[in-house]
Amino acid sequence: MRKIKDILMNLMTYLFSSFGVLILGTILVFVFSNGFSSLSWNLLTSDYYETVYTLKYETDNTLGVYDNPNLNDSYFSSRWGVAFQDTTNNEGDSVIIISYLDPLSPLKRMTNGATDGIASVETNQVVTKVILNDEDSNLIIGLAKNGAEEMAQDFDKGIVITNLVVTTSGGGIRGSLLTTLYMIVLTLLIALPFGIGGAIYLSEYAPDTRSTRILRNMIDMTSGIPSIIFGLVGAIVFIPFMNNVIGSTGGSIASGALTLAIMLLPIIIKTTEESIKTIPSSYRSASLALGASKTQTTFKVILPNALSGILTSVLLSIGRIIGESAALIYAVGTAIKDNVAIDENSTTLAVHIWSVMSGENPNYELSYSISIVILFMVLILSILVKLITKRFNRYEVK
């Protein structure tokens, strides 16, 4: 009877524990399989919003001869030095994109129909329509629906472009990538001095009194507050604050950074303090016995040896910043931007997902692709943390 019970319990244990690995596996497989296809360099570097340009080239291009790069699946116009390719966009429609542009192509020196400024086409832009004139001033009209091959031929027939409509592919996350980067740097810039300073006070200067215990408790309590509450606080404290200080209107990366900074303080303080605790007190004694001041001891002996803890807290913080969504939804906003500025609102990668998933048409594919990027960063950070703790533990004095 006992044997059966044992076997049952064991079975249950194996079953339940494989559940954890199963879940991770499922999440990863799912995210990867769905998001990998649309993951591309283009996704990472292009704008989110599509822009339509109307361009013209009015000088006679009679002498254009450019070398064919002979790309696969591309059709080259030797007169204009441009190659076209058939492909499908994020919504699944067939489009023609510019797959190659010769560095000397006249298409780089076109005129923007709306602004009259100089404009250039870029690779990966979608060509919707072109109207050209040939030598005899005949009109040649090239349409997207006719395919890339015919488009290339149309281009070769004409010497003047009176109208070229190109659209930048949208759906890129460059803006959000940049926002995430700004957010990380700005948040750390604010949070680290206070976090490290707090840790140093608690371990080096704080007397063992009731007030110190109260101080510690207050800092600890901050770590139990959910991030949505921080978002609320950020919205009513830091947004108006930043509006006054840097003249922003509404949420901004700056207000988001302040919100994240106060959220991260307990982690930074705790991790740094742990690291300082491992410094043998004999170092302090030795330094003071040599006639150094307390300040010198703190900065020359304690701080350099707490570096591993500080580094760990930096990596942990970066992980949390990348993944944070609820707080930023309130403290910054959910408007996706292509042009990112610190005094304006924008979305980090996580908030970008939220933005495209809430609303009537959730964009699953884009979200999965962004998830891959986020997961990749989180993985790298977790490996780095492990490496750092291993490496610095090696050099510790017994």
């Binding site: 007397p207 170092y283 030795a286 330094s287 003071l288 040599l290 020359k300 050099y395």
Partner: protein, 249 residues
């Protein structure tokens, strides 16, 4: 003989624990003075009074007179005192820095920046601590790569770099092997020409080997204080005799 420390009726308590009771003692210049006695008798505490390291303990209460060169130690700035009264600890505690940086630490804190000057100080200190020849090829290596005995001599060099008048040593060889111990004892013999040395030791034989004066402590009081030869050959106090003949301790 010049007196460098004059202690009169010194009392010290950690909270309710009365650790030093009416201690009176004179420490002489360019002599090696040893504090001996059973564990917990207050000898290390007295040593730490001499460079005000007890200040680090918040529960300490102290009264009585402790003069360094005729000035009350409590009226001297602690940092200043420690540049003149250095300390070597029981377990070698070099900083996790290079050998050079360890020795240069003290002078740098005092504001010496000139590379040539620092180099000169470091080399001289390492020579005086009888360790220069062993480390001259690897001054930039980590101090933690040295053996225990070498680390302790490095700590002595670090202390010497401050050019103190007094070197306090708290059981400096108790964590070391016999050969390293011997080297340090030889070093102490050399050092006393330039510095005054006060050493706390558990090892009576060590006291007889290296010290000129010995103070025997018990339960926070000085039982006997005399020239070492006298104290060990003709102890005047029964308790002293019991201790040094090994009846207890």
């Amino acid at each position: 003989m010049e007196t460098i420390f004059k202690i009169e009726k010194l009392n010290l308590s950690y909270g309710d624990n009365h650790v030093l009771k009416n201690v009176s003692l004179a420490i002489y210049k360019n002599q090696v003075t040893a504090f001996i006695g059973p564990s917990g008798c207050g000898k290390t505490t007295l040593l730490r009074c001499l460079n005000r390291m007890n200040d680090l303990n918040v529960t300490v209460k102290q009264d009585g007179s402790l003069k360094y060169l005729d000035q009350e130690v409590s009226s001297i700035n602690a940092m200043d005192l420690r540049t003149k009264v250095g300390m070597v600890f029981q377990t070698p505690n070099p900083f996790p820095m290079s050998i050079f940086d360890n020795v240069a630490y003290g002078p740098r804190c005092q504001g010496v920046k000139n590379k040539y000057t620092l180099n000169k100080i470091v080399v001289e200190s390492l020579k005086k601590a009888a360790i220069y020849d062993e480390v001259k090829e690897r001054l930039r290596d980590s101090a933690l790569s040295l053996s225990g005995g070498q680390q302790q001599r490095l700590c002595i060099a670090r202390c010497i770099a401050m050019e103190p008048d007094v070197i306090l040593m708290d059981e400096p060889t108790s964590a070391l092997d016999p050969i390293a111990t011997l080297k340090i004892e030889e070093l102490i013999g050399q050092l006393k020409k330039e510095y005054s040395i006060v050493i706390v030791t558990h090892n009576m034989q060590q006291a007889t080997r290296i010290s000129d004066y010995t103070a025997f402590f018990m339960l926070g009081e000085i039982v006997e204080y005399d020239k070492t030869v006298e104290l060990f050959k003709n102890p005047k106090n029964r308790k002293t005799e019991d201790y040094i003949t090994g009846r207890f301790g």
